[in-house]
């Protein structure tokens, strides 16, 4: 085309060969790494849902009574309602920035599986919100009168349940992309879908606190997590594509 072509052409890479393409797993790992790095540059976003969780568990002793027997009775419900609301609060950050700056668009056009990339994003979101929540839940349970022997069961329940909460939440977060003031709508879409997690999680916590066998509700929580892992990223990817149309 122009006279300068020959010398500059040497500087730009030749059109890429298929062999040097990033594998699906590699792309997912990079997406995960990027989200973690970004989160650590903005730690306040991480702390807020946790502080919210702690605040809600604090509200109940103040509103009901500090009497241990009474608190022990409501503890499972309090714990799981607070966890559900905290994870809901964190959901707004899941895709919002990426939709805004065009990252989601590039993901959708990258030739990689959008489902896999979103799964990596959801995994990052869980590491950033679900894991801290899991670490904090036993402490909150202690403050509500749980005995130390109940803590492993509670820990396991929140660990498994929070995975499903992140997965289910991703669908609502993706569907509400591009809607202004989507907070209330996001809760309306997500909470009904999250009810089974609340029910099984609270039951597991209750059994753990009363010394009963926690295996059955944990298995049900696990089944939900497996189902969510297979279906939620697919639905979220479809929703993201729709939001880009």
């Amino acid at each position: 085309m122009s006279h300068g072509d020959v010398e500059v052409a040497a500087l730009t890479p030749p059109i890429v060969a298929r062999s040097s393409a990033t594998s699906a797993l590699g792309a997912a790992a990079l997406a995960l790494e990027r989200d973690l790095l970004l989160a650590f540059r903005h730690p306040s976003q991480l702390v807020q849902p946790l502080a919210f969780f702690a605040m809600v568990t604090l509200l109940f002793p103040l509103a009901l009574s500090p009497e241990p027997a009474r608190l022990r009775e409501v503890a499972p419900g309090v714990l799981w309602t607070a966890a559900l609301l905290a994870s809901l609060l964190a959901l707004e950050f899941l895709f919002r920035d990426d939709a805004h700056d065009g990252t989601l668009e590039q993901y959708a056009l990258s030739g990689q599986s959008l489902t896999t990339l979103l799964f990596a994003k959801i995994a990052a979101h869980w590491v950033l919100t679900g894991v801290p929540l899991t670490l904090m839940a036993p402490l909150a349970a202690l403050s509500l009168g749980a005995s130390p022997s109940a803590l492993p069961g509670i820990f396991a329940a929140v660990l498994i349940g929070s995975v499903t909460l992140s997965l289910i939440g991703s669908i609502g977060a993706a569907l509400t992309l591009g809607i202004k003031r989507s907070g209330a709508l996001l809760s309306l879409l997500t909470l009904p879908l999250a009810l089974p997690v609340l029910i099984f999680g609270a039951r597991a916590t209750q059994l753990a606190m009363s010394g009963g066998p926690v295996v059955a509700p944990l298995e049900l929580l696990g089944a939900l997590a497996v189902l969510g892992t297979t279906l939620a990223p697919l639905a979220a990817a479809a929703a993201v594509r729709i939001s880009l149309e």
């Binding site: 569907l175 509400t176 709508l185 879409l189 009904p192 029910i199 049900l220 729709i242």
Partner: protein, 245 residues
């Protein structure tokens, strides 16, 4: 070819015309069946040996509850067709379903509560059926909220369709978890739906109501579908021709 009917269904002018011709054929039988069912339910059927005349609420509660589920299933089916084949008419049908379903879910909730007071001694009992019904109501609200929240009509169609499909996968899981939860906290007296001794004079009005409501739904859907199709196609020439001739 076997697929021609399918393609014709995708054509808005065809659907507009056929829906207009069909709707009276569903509307009038529906009216007759519902009137007959009302007469049979209120006058002909004998009082229940346990619940007395209170059981007559079943003739409006059961059909409303049936509608709430059937309409949701229809909506999700239409939504899935719209998503997969990008069929505008299917999206219009799904959009037409939502307000009908939501209003009958509301009726099922109110009549359920009114039935609950004499039977359980309280208007609201967390029984699995009523609880599931309430969640279904929220699913409808979420669907309509999402549809209203997205400005672009195509995107609103597709996003709400995806939500309807996700919802229909979740309804059984939610229902199962709610039933499971209820079996743990069951109150001693549960609704005794006239299982023993349901006589023919009791059953026939119920069947008439169920069929009448179903036909009514089809008639309402056809009328609403025509409205939706007209709105979506308001700038194409066939709508003018259909209305001005």
């Amino acid at each position: 070819m076997a697929w021609t009917w399918f393609h014709r269904l995708a054509s808005p002018p065809y659907v507009y015309g056929v829906a207009g011709r069909l709707s009276p054929w569903f509307a009038w039988p529906a009216v007759l069946l519902i009137l007959g069912g009302l007469y049979g339910g209120l006058v002909l059927a004998p009082p229940d040996y346990q619940q007395g005349d209170g059981f007559r609420i079943i003739y409006v509660h059961a059909p409303s509850a049936w509608m709430s589920l059937m309409v949701y299933t229809t909506m999700a089916g239409a939504a899935a067709i719209g998503l997969v084949w990008r069929m505008k008419v299917a999206h219009a049908a799904a959009a037409a379903c939502a307000p009908i379903g939501a209003s009958f879910t509301f009726a099922a909730l109110v009549t359920g509560a009114l039935w609950g007071e004499p039977m359980w001694g309280t208007y609201w009992q967390w029984d699995p059926r009523l609880t599931s019904e309430l969640i279904l109501f929220f699913l409808y609200l979420g669907y309509m909220g999402l549809r209203a929240g997205i400005e672009d009509p195509q995107r609103a169609d597709r996003a709400s369709a995806l939500l309807a499909v996700v919802g229909v996968i979740n309804v059984p899981i939610i229902h199962y978890s709610v039933t499971w939860w209820n079996s743990l906290h069951q109150a001693p007296s549960v609704m005794r739906l006239g299982k023993p001794s349901i006589s023919l004079t009791m059953l026939l009005p119920l069947l008439a109501m169920l069929l009448g409501f179903t036909l009514l739904f089809i008639a309402l859907l056809l009328v609403r579908l025509r409205a939706e199709v007209l709105l979506r196609e308001r700038s194409s020439s066939w709508t003018r021709e259909a209305l001005l001739t």
